[in-house]
């Protein structure tokens, strides 16, 4: 009788353990089926469209006409931001992205770490969202530079807009743009400086008609058109990235939180210019990752329809 009881107890333990296995091995479980995406409603679309674009649309200008208008319009730098300021900041920007070490044997020495959210499929022609970079802490012995930036590109060509801070001049949070298709050395442009602890509206947008030089694009910062040009691709893939650079791999320092939020992506479907919130209902998979010591959190906050991508170092 006692043995039977013992057997029943063992059997119960076995069943309980079997029930736990799917829970334990659930990490990395199958990706949920993707939907078609959540369309951005007219109100939010209007709120997040720069006033100049709304004005041009209300005047009856087509997408192509607006593209040409923006290409030709003047895009002055921020008041007080001189050519000398621009050249100095561009020299900092160049310093990290062109520094490929010439070493003959494998060694672990990379000084770049990322916190990134990305869609790999090139199905979009624009990204519209907000970024609050945070303090982007720098020092001579720790993290020397930060890039808090969003990219849109395909086939090795991309455009971007973001905020950079360098230890060489820590008082400046530099707003910059980049076009990988511009001649070597001229890829970067700087617009001015900004307060990193408020939310900034950014917009990268590619227009649908190749005008002979490529597809026109426009880059907006806080509802001001700060850059434009041409890119060979209309369909692109987006990302939101926080790039950290240190003088030494072991010296990344504490960094307060910065984030991207309320982003949506533009996709032309037939004759409709649609916009979809960047969340898990898109047809494509969104990846997010960070390289240690960078940490990230990707959530959809209450009241929002899109991912909030937060990055920091403890």
């Amino acid at each position: 009788m006692e043995l039977h009881k013992f057997g029943i107890v063992l059997l119960a333990l076995l069943l309980a353990a079997m029930a736990l296995v799917p829970i334990v091995s659930a990490a990395g479980a199958a990706i949920q089926p993707a939907g078609k995406g959540d369309l951005v409603d007219k109100f939010n679309l209007s709120v997040m469209t720069p006033p100049l674009l709304i004005k041009l649309e209300s005047q009856g200008l087509s997408e192509d006409e607006i593209a040409q208008y923006i290409l030709k319009m003047e895009k002055p730098r921020q008041d007080g931001w001189t050519e000398k300021d621009n050249e100095l900041a561009v020299s900092y920007l160049k310093r990290y992205r062109q520094n490929i070490p010439d070493v003959k044997s494998p060694m672990y020495q990379d000084v770049q770490k990322d916190g990134r959210m990305v869609i790999y499929e090139a199905n979009y022609n624009g990204i519209n969202g907000y970024m609050r970079p945070g303090n982007l802490e720098v020092s001579s012995t720790g993290t020397e530079a930060h890039y808090f930036t969003s990219h849109l590109g395909y086939g090795g060509r991309w455009i971007e807009v973001g905020v950079a801070r360098f230890n060489f001049n820590p008082s400046q949070y530099v707003v910059y743009t980049y076009d990988s298709g511009r001649p070597a050395g001229q890829e970067w442009k700087t617009w001015g400086t900004t307060d990193p602890n408020v939310s900034h509206h950014f917009l990268l947008y590619v227009y649908p008609t190749d005008d002979g030089s490529g597809y026109p694009y426009a880059i907006w910062w806080d509802d001001t058109a700060i850059d434009s040009g041409h890119t060979p691709y209309y369909w692109n893939n987006p990302d939101e990235n926080h790039e950290f650079f240190a003088a030494n791999i072991n010296n990344f320092q504490t960094c307060s939180q910065g984030y991207f939020e309320n982003s949506f992506l533009y996709k032309k479907e037939g004759n409709n210019y649609n916009a979809y919130w960047w969340n898990g209902n898109l047809p494509e998979t969104t990846d997010a990752y960070s390289l240690s010591p960078v940490l990230y959190s990707r959530t959809i906050p209450y009241g929002s329809s899109s991912y909030k991508m937060i990055t920091w170092i403890n």
Partner: protein, 129 residues
Amino acid sequence: MKKKNPFFLGSIILAICFSFVIFTSGCLGEEKISEHDAVSIAVNDSRTHNLIQNHKFNVVDVSLASITSGETNPRDMYAVTIKVQNGTPERIIVFVSFNGEVVRVDSPYTAKAPDDLIKKINETPEHPG
């Protein structure tokens, strides 16, 4: 009347329990490969070769990483960073799980790998070993 063996039921259940522990040990406790192994797996993966092509390259970093794909939970793994000299991709990050699977091959925008190539490479998973 046939006499029941009082130890029969207990022995059978114990045998099942031991078998269960042995067969599920892979799920309950993943054996962690070393950083050195992760580097070796990363540079020998065919998807990495497709990006490097025949250019010179250096493994410049191996660190821990956390990655979320779609709506899955974040997973900790190794990230092996490779820099390619004079190649189209300048920087490649290979994510290797602690059990040695190449989960993702990425080339962020600071590198110049065509995104369609990245997508194509990641759609053909290869399990090392």
